[in-house]
């Protein structure tokens, strides 16, 4: 059984998402939870980019005689997932930065990063 490159990327993305989900559910350290979120995010980005793949095609950027405006539609891959992932990466960065700052602030209050120490919102 041979896997094409897009299926490999798809499997990689899905495994990374599962790893991130597992980390988010089971880890107790706030930093590790944030890291798990980042891993999940990366997996999702890889998955979206993999969906735009077409076999044997190149990046949607004009180059010399190979990729010209006339041939672009027949030799280049789908540019939309790449544009979407660019947005997703930036938003993911923003969320990660915010979570890290909240963790920093919580650590200043209680001198602990263990999620079990923060029981104020527990029911």
């Amino acid at each position: 059984m041979t896997l094409s490159i897009d299926k490999i990327a798809l499997i990689l993305g899905m495994v990374l998402m599962l790893v991130g989900l597992w980390g988010g559910f089971t880890q107790k350290n706030l930093l590790k939870i944030i890291l798990s979120f980042s891993i999940f995010n990366s997996g999702l980005n890889i998955l979206i980019v993999a969906l735009g793949y077409l076999p044997g095609r190149t990046a949607p950027i004009l180059e010399g005689d190979v990729v010209t405006p006339e041939t672009l539609a027949s030799v280049a891959i789908d540019p939309v997932p790449q544009a979407l992932v660019l947005t997703a990466i930036v938003i993911g960065f923003g969320i990660t930065a915010l979570m890290l700052v909240f963790a920093l602030k919580l650590n200043q209050h209680k001198k602990s990063l263990d999620i079990n120490q923060y029981t104020d919102l527990k029911w």
């Binding site: 599962l18 004009l62 539609a73 280049a76 544009a83 909240f102």
Partner: protein, 234 residues
């Protein structure tokens, strides 16, 4: 504790089954879908940009990009607000190793120039404002690592950020008046495909985004650094 872990396991297995179903039904595409075919056949002629992804991000989906930049701006503002300092604290003297300081002095100018290159050429080569801004952000991060007690002028960063954001919106409004709509890049001549000064307003917009993203990342890093300095002292 065991109970919680088994609930997590069940949820992950369910999510795994969901993903497996997506994978099972997935088939490699053999032709472009309608949207992609439109972008790939029309984008170079309509926007004059050699990089189709850039023309989607900056022109066709320009409004989304404006929203995205706003989200980053909001993040930088919230970080600055949460980590605000009351009164200046004296920080200990610089204890960074000599090797890091020397290496940083060599690397920082090059990284900033690379970042500027990436965002100015965003319409011709892979890369663009967000990538170039991130490279500049890492250069500033290296600067902070090498000299944690140094004073990053956050006011200057805020001015760069606000000015570039404001100009970005002005260019967008100019598109509304002079060309086809908000953030239309045809307010300037499209020029020859593949040249640096081509694609209308795309290089200008992407440079502004690069400056904005770079200064936002830098101010986030500077805020975090100031806070950790003060906590280390107290």
């Amino acid at each position: 504790m065991k109970m919680k872990n088994s609930i997590a396991l069940v949820l992950i297995v369910m999510f795994g089954i969901f993903l497996f179903h997506i994978y099972e039904r997935y088939q490699t595409q053999t032709a472009l879908n309608k949207t992609a075919a439109y972008y790939n056949s029309k984008a170079p002629a309509e926007t004059g940009a050699a990089n189709v992804v850039t023309s989607i991000v900056v022109t066709y989906r320009g409004l989304d990009t404006l929203g995205e930049v706003t989200v980053l701006f909001l993040t930088a503002m919230i970080v600055g607000y949460i980590l605000r300092q009351r009164g200046k604290a004296k920080t200990p003297k610089n204890t960074t190793s000599e090797i890091l300081i020397t290496a940083a002095n060599i690397l920082i100018p090059g990284s900033i120039i690379l970042g500027a290159y990436v965002f100015i050429n965003g319409h011709l080569t892979p890369g663009g404002g967000f990538q170039g801004g991130a490279i500049i952000g890492t250069a500033i991060g290296l600067m902070i690592l090498a000299n944690p007690i140094g004073n990053i002028q956050k006011t200057a960063l805020h001015y760069i950020e606000s000015l570039s954001g404001f100009t970005y919106i002005l260019i967008g409004l100019a598109g509304l008046i002079l060309a086809g709509g908000f953030l239309d890049n045809r307010i300037l001549p499209l020029g020859n495909l593949g040249e640096l000064f081509s694609a209308g307003a795309i290089p200008i917009i992407y440079s502004l985004i690069g400056l904005k993203v770079g200064s936002e990342l830098s101010s986030i890093l500077a805020s975090i650094n100031e806070t950790t300095n003060n906590t280390a002292k107290s």
